[in-house]
Symmetry: none
Amino acid sequence: EKARVMEWERQGQVEHQSQNGGGLYVKVMTDEQMELLRRQISVYATICEQLVEMHKAITTQQDLAGMRLGSLYCDPFMTSAGHKITSRQRWTPTPVQLQILEQIFDQGNGTPSKQKIKEMTNELTQHGPISETNVYNWFQNRRARSKRKQSVPVQNNAESEVETDVESPKEKKTKPEDIQSFENSAPRAENMYFQGPEMGTEMHCLDTQPN
Amino acid sequence: EKARVMEWERQGQVEHQSQNGGGLYVKVMTDEQMELLRRQISVYATICEQLVEMHKAITTQQDLAGMRLGSLYCDPFMTSAGHKITSRQRWTPTPVQLQILEQIFDQGNGTPSKQKIKEMTNELTQHGPISETNVYNWFQNRRARSKRKQSVPVQNNAESEVETDVESPKEKKTKPEDIQSFENSAPRAENMYFQGPEMGTEMHCLDTQPN
DNA sequence: GATTTATGAATGAAGG
DNA sequence: CCTTCATTCATAAATC
């Protein structure tokens, strides 16, 4: 039942749109499925809101006592896949950092100058460890990869080698610019974009000020 | 407006399926949009889990139990949901594709150029769904893993440590020690808020599974 | 059907 | 900038 949300992903038919000569695969979902999704998302939104509120209240009232409970959360489930915590040897942007970076990136002001990077780094430091090199690399990678960011049409190959006479259904990476503009049409995406699993690394240290 | 998440609903095309005689309207979304949605949901799921865990820890510890937030744990899907709510489908090579790929790989022609990948993809499409990205990834992984396989079975002498000595044959590897200056300091919970909790309206307490 | 393994994919960093 | 590599994550497949 937990996978109900994305159920449509599996049962949804795959439509072959043969417009423009080049085929384009798209997923199809019914209104029912969409409504289901909408509800599920709403649930999450509400829960998050409530939890955040509560947590705020609790930590505030607890702040008086000056209790430190940071390390207490460490284990619960930041290891969603049962991995070791200490294995990080390379920088990983915190959710907040990611948000900020994405935001700046979306402003499309091309390559950030060295000066700008310095500023950014300075700002981002407030949200976690980061270096100018990290920022620089991030922008490099982000730009480079935004080009082939086209969604990979991963379709299940239920049966082996069906001779589908398709030409090249998944090559919609015609122009990077097109994709770019397409991405812009999904506005708030970046604001919510935290890449789940890594988040735990930051969250568990909820104590605001280690004295 | 709380319906931002469903933005794709507006931009997605609407397909008219005239099957069954009676027309049936369905929404259409691209893979990219779907991936976006998936991530958004994943974000919520993770945040919820985190918050719940933290909250549990706090309330358990201080035991003052003044606030009754137990109702928040009541959600049926929270406990079992997690990251599993949104699952990504991934490409799996068909036997024939795999065979071809292995064959090409064995020819030792190192890194396949972009052009070569395109050709291969084109060829492999005859034997099942596949994209250039898939091919690219496959070669990357194949090479990386064949390299790693080599370095492992080298030790057969008087050996005592068999746990952390599987270093890659590189010497420029970073320090194995995790002297990382303590993950991150204090990412306040507020930082995790997303500017759109207002999208939940019709939902309050879960237990919504339309089962 | 719960765990473990194999492997496709994501990404930070280095090289050119 | 672009490409490549190393590492990690997530999940399909395999195993128990």
